[in-house]
């Protein structure tokens, strides 16, 4: 095999995604291939704190001589993103006018985007379409790798689909890639991962438009606090008796949605009825028994009458 050092200056590959997607596996495969090819490789990553569902990134730099393990802003040659919001987070690190952008269009809605925890509420998520982003970079690919991997039988092979697409932008041969992938993935999933890799390469060869983002999580996930008393309901009415309230501030400070406050008379009032989920924490912790939460219209009506 021809082992030629073609890059004197370091090539910078930034792999980003969400915890559990396989960011570290992708960067490991890439770093191993580069090292076996004869390049000097430096790789650094942030993981662990992210757990599952948090942001993970990994810098891979290879070249004849690499000094720093981290990539300076604005000099990423290939950005490989396994999740759409993470792709947007790092898109301005791409080398202007030269870098390549590869991203899965999968949306994983982060928990902090669900500011309003009522059932059926809209989640805050990046609004840019894939076309808008690709028009901003020199060379961009946005594909629905997760669906492709799911059709192959294992959703978790989405990172290998993207690796297949990445392989077409680098000079290493297909055999080298397949060899490295089969060494790093779990033994039972070698076949599906190699198929996914082929799919990724095939997708790069195809003529295609950019697909619209596909939302795999339908809306915000209902918050599970672990107690049946916390069950969400559609109807919520909060009754605060100002004559009984003694302005102790407990409900204001303990409300998980921060939707209560003390008014100018220092009596507790509900500021945002839309954000109130009816979790009853204010009701339980009101020492003056001044707050009542009604979860059904019948209960609210009965309280108003009696």
């Amino acid at each position: 095999m021809d082992k030629k050092i073609t890059h004197k200056e370091p090539v910078n590959v930034l792999v980003v995604g969400v915890g559990g997607q396989g960011v570290i596996m992708v960067s490991k495969v890439l770093a191993t291939i580069c090292q076996e090819h004869g390049y000097q490789v430096k790789q650094s990553e942030v993981h662990g704190m992210a757990k599952r569902g948090g942001g993970v990134f990994s810098h891979v730099r290879f070249g004849e001589q690499v000094y720093s393990p981290t990539i300076p802003k604005g000099s990423v040659d290939v950005l490989l993103a396994l999740e759409w919001a993470e792709a947007l987070r790092w898109v301005n690190h791409i080398r202007p006018g030269e870098g390549t952008f590869i991203s899965d269009t999968q949306h994983i809605v982060p928990p902090f985007a669900c500011r309003n925890r009522k059932r059926g509420a809209e989640a805050g998520y990046a609004r840019e379409t894939s076309d808008q982003i690709i028009s901003r970079v020199n060379k961009g690919f946005a594909l629905d790798a997760t669906t492709m991997a799911r059709e192959l039988g294992n959703e978790r092979a989405a990172n290998t689909v993207l690796l297949g697409l990445l392989s077409t932008t680098l000079e290493f041969s297909e055999d080298v890639w397949c060899d490295a992938i089969s060494r790093f993935v779990p033994p039972k999933t070698v076949d599906v991962n190699l198929q996914a890799f082929e799919q990724g390469r095939a997708w790069a060869a195809m003529d295609h438009g950019t697909p619209e983002p596909v939302v795999h999580n339908d809306g915000p996930t209902p918050v599970v606090v672990g107690r049946e008393e916390h069950e969400m309901s559609d109807f919520v009415q909060l009754d605060i008796n100002p004559a009984w309230c003694k302005s102790c501030d407990i409900c204001v400070k303990m409300c998980p949605e921060r939707c209560l406050k003390l008014d100018d008379q220092l009596k507790a009032v509900l500021t945002d009825p839309d954000r109130c989920t009816g979790c009853r924490i204010c009701e339980w912790l009101c020492p003056d028994l001044a707050i009542t939460v009604h979860r059904t219209p019948e209960a609210a009506r009965a309280a108003a009458q009696g």
């Binding site: 303990m254 912790l285 020492p287 009696g306």
Partner: protein, 286 residues
């Protein structure tokens, strides 16, 4: 929609509404802003509701102090007694009327100092009474004097240089004296407190529940413990829930944390039954 309505009607008892258990014309109650006693009162009413107790069959006996006034706010049979003696009154009441659910609301000073003797003998007899002791570490109503449960080095009006006396562990005391059910919970965990009180009322025999409450106005202010939200939140770091389902205990980090949950539960003979059967057999013999 109609289906949903039907299921709501058929499933279980009516939703808990604390208002139906209160003498609402007496409200707002006399407690200071942020006092945890109100939360404990709600938890007690909630437990009674979930057990489906008849309001006419609940007898609430209370002593003197901030906790003693709570009984007056409950729309049930209530009995406001002398300082330290609610357990003595409750013993007589329960022996005369075994059909009543006798619940004693008492405070740390009422129960452990003035009524300490009554507590240990009530525990020893194991009569079917539920004793809810609200521990706010201070005599609140009389102006903030030191109580048997005041933590060491804390300031009160009678300990201007910090409390030098050792502190009572009331749960250990009740357990050693023979109470067949002993538990401890904090007010910030209201549903858990409700479940503990439910277990305590359901238990046949003397059940002692220590509720860690907070005195913001007198004790918290003197000791710089923050306002009511800070005080109620700090309860979470003071507890060590090690009897409910074996939750992980991080003892090295919280050396002063108190164990919470059900601490003791035994099936010792209940005094009322023993007494009545002895009386019946002695009458037969005579």
């Amino acid at each position: 929609m109609a289906k949903k309505k039907q299921s709501a009607e058929t499933s279980g008892p009516k939703e808990f509404d604390v208002m139906s258990y209160l003498r609402r014309d007496l409200f707002p109650h006399f407690l200071c802003p942020g006092c945890g006693h109100g939360i404990a009162l709600r938890a007690l009413m909630w437990a009674a509701h979930e057990l489906g107790l008849d309001k006419d069959k609940i007898a609430i006996v209370s002593g003197i102090g901030c906790s003693g006034r709570l009984g007056a706010y409950v729309d049930a049979n209530t009995f406001h007694t002398t300082h330290g003696r609610p357990l003595a009154y409750a013993t007589g009441l329960k022996l005369a009327r075994p059909d009543l659910h006798v619940i004693v609301i008492t405070g740390d000073g009422d129960c452990l100092a003035i009524g300490g003797n009554h507590l240990i003998h009530a525990c020893r007899r194991n009569l079917d009474i539920t004793c809810m002791m609200l521990n706010n570490e201070v005599y609140g109503m009389t102006g903030g004097q030191v109580s048997p449960t005041t933590s060491q080095d804390r300031y009160t009006t009678t300990t201007p240089t910090g409390n030098t006396e050792a502190t009572f562990d009331s749960c250990k005391l009740a357990e050693a004296a023979g109470a067949s059910f002993v538990g401890r919970e904090v007010t910030v965990q209201t549903p858990t407190l409700k479940n503990l009180l439910k277990d305590a009322i359901d238990h046949k025999g003397f059940s002692f529940v220590e509720v860690i409450s907070d005195c913001t106005e007198i004790y918290g202010r003197k000791n710089d413990l923050g306002n009511s939200p800070e005080m109620i939140l700090s309860q979470k770091s003071q507890m060590r829930p090690d009897s409910y389902g074996g939750v992980i205990v991080d003892e090295p980090f919280r050396p002063n944390a108190l164990p919470t949950g059900v601490l003791t539960r035994s099936d010792r003979a209940e005094y009322g039954e023993t007494y009545r059967s002895t009386m019946a057999s002695s009458k037969k013999g005579a």
